[in-house]
Amino acid sequence: MGIGLLVLLYLFVPIGVVAAMSFRDAGRNAPYSLENYRFTWAHWADPFGAAGIGHAFWLSIAIAALATLGAVILGTLMSFALARHTFRGRAATNTLIFLPMATPEIVMGSSLLALFVAAGVQLGFWTIVIAHVMFCLSFVVVTVKARLAGLDPRLQEAAMDLYANETQTFLRVTLPLVMPGIVAAALLSFSLSFDDFIVTNFNSGSVVTFPMFVWGASQRGIPPQINVIGTAMFVISFLVVLIGQLPNMRRKA
């Protein structure tokens, strides 16, 4: 238990630094460090104050949302097929789903780039979305499949027994029950997509996502707003997940 808490603390240390930096009052060319610390609210008052940051941020949010949507829909369908049916080619499909997880991002990113270029596809927003759906897909399948496999098939039988046809059974029983798995998969996808740099960097063309903005900033001087957004993302995600969990926690309490 003690070690566990220490590890948790370790996870939080950099977040603390980011939060501290978000309140730091310093000039454009001041060193990025906690020395000569002066406090200010200014950056929080204007989180998108640095040129390009707001655009990059909303772009990343949009990409993550679309990629999550795509991956969750495609992945959920696939996990239903894999968890509920036996068919020829099941093993091959499982392998196809495992492979992207076993492939380093750099390999995925570069090969996809080669494809887009060869096909003459204009790199940019949509190529990023396509790439993100691709690498989130496997994680969705694994997550939803696990949930489905733990689902009692008798519940669906009970629904059919109670006059629900196949569609109603799916909508009224199966889907709500698999929902926690889907939500988890969505959260995972969102964070994977929102945070991705390597694959995105290959396939972004001239579009600048938030991680790419950060990457660029790290080379020329980091605007404090980056820390504001970093901290805000942490707090918001924490609250969202927490609120989602509240009913659950109360029940267990």
Binding site: L155, A158, A159, Y163, A164, V173, L177, R251
Partner: protein, 382 residues
């Protein structure tokens, strides 16, 4: 789409030559069965004998390999489950964990687009004694309460047939007895056909009008519980429906209305009306509660038949005391002696005479060479 006449005056449930195979394995084997409308039918049998499979075929959750299932004169063999006027109370309740109790109960009516459900749900919850529980989630109920929700959820649809798959299996003894009374009461009140699967023969006997004992995919015997207990058809049934003392015997002849048999060197008689075989090998059987104990041969009432042995164990179970008596040939006999306060308990290791009235014995078929009665071993079959 032609809707089923839900809750319409029902008709008998008929299974005609129904067989279900899973690959090479036959789970239900050419089963034919009639369950009269409005009756309480119990299916009994060891684990794995095909009870659940039979119910699932009636519910439409499994399709028979061959054979037909009829409700009145409608053939429902290939009807999808949601089109049958049949509902199931599942072994594990299968309540929808994401829905409230009221929504669970309302589920079937909603699917059929019935209006004004709230009232019906309330009445149904009242029937199963769960007023005020509508808003809770299944996980907030105790096992017994969940069981009643499962029942309400099925009953509210007024099915022609209600299937119950070991609905009490998970409850402890006390709660189980309580629920049995409840179930029986509800069945009498609503008057629909119940097909009840259970492991517990005492449950089957207290509740059912008709009991069927299944064995390896077939019906071994079917009848009223009293008759079947009193005069079982096979050694399997004799052992499965309550306990029996069975002696390997051989018919030696006939004397008037009695069949004479010899067992382990002793001679006994059984009324011909209580014999399933009249020559060759047989099992001579007597129920433990039909055996009486006497402290000497002289104390045996006239007309009784008897065997002498040593008491090897006695256990007091409140209502009665169970004695094990070992006769000269070894196999122990079980004797239930009621603690009605009439006789004093007997000591272990003492010699006693076990006696019974010939008309309480029965003679059942015994395959040549078999000398150990077929034991009901759920494990071996599981």
């Amino acid at each position: 789409m032609t809707e089923q006449p839900y809750g319409a005056s029902g008709a008998d449930l008929n299974l005609v030559g129904v067989t279900k195979s899973f690959g090479a394995f036959t789970a239900v084997d050419d089963l034919s069965l009639t369950v009269p409308q409005g009756s309480f039918f119990a299916l009994l049998g060891a684990s794995g004998c095909g009870k659940t499979t039979t119910l699932r075929m009636i519910a439409g959750l499994e399709e028979p390999t061959t054979g037909r299932i009829l409700l009145g004169d409608q053939d429902v063999t290939r009807l999808r489950p949601y089109k049958r006027p049949v509902n199931t109370v599942f072994q594990s309740y299968a309540l929808f964990p994401h829905l409230s109790i009221a929504d669970n109960v309302a589920f079937g009516l909603r699917r059929r687009g019935v209006k004004g459900i709230a009232d019906q749900v309330e009445r149904m919850l009242h029937l199963v004694d769960l007023d005020g529980f509508g808003k809770r989630k299944p996980s907030q109920l105790s096992g017994g309460q969940q069981q009643r929700v499962a029942l309400a959820r099925a009953l509210i649809n007024h099915p022609q047939v209600l299937l119950l798959d070991e609905p009490l299996g998970a409850l402890d003894l006390k709660l189980r007895r309580q629920m049995q009374v409840e179930l029986k009461r509800i069945q009498t009140e609503v008057g629909i056909t119940f097909v009840h699967v259970t492991h517990d023969q005492e449950e089957a006997m207290t509740m059912a009008d008709t009991v069927a004992v299944m064995n390896a995919g077939r019906i071994e015997q079917l009848g009223s519980p009293v008759e079947m207990y009193d005069f079982p058809g096979t050694a399997f049934v004799a052992n499965f429906l309550g306990q029996s003392n069975l002696f390997a015997a051989t018919v030696t002849g006939r004397s008037g209305d009695d069949v004479l048999v010899e067992s382990h060197g002793a001679r006994f008689s059984v009324p011909a009306a209580r014999c399933r075989v009249t020559d060759g090998p047989g099992w001579l059987g007597v129920r433990p509660e039909k055996l009486h104990l006497a402290t000497g041969l002289d104390k045996v009432p006239s007309g009784h038949q008897s065997v002498t042995g040593i008491i090897t164990d006695s256990s007091y179970v409140g209502v009665s005391t169970q004695y094990l008596v070992r006769p000269a040939w070894g196999d122990e006999l079980t004797v239930f002696s009621p603690n009605s306060g009439v006789a004093a308990p007997l000591a272990v290791a003492g010699e006693v005479t076990v006696h019974w009235r010939p008309e309480h014995a029965f003679l059942l078929p015994r395959p040549e060479g078999q000398t150990v009665a077929p034991v009901v071993d759920a494990e071996a079959l599981a």
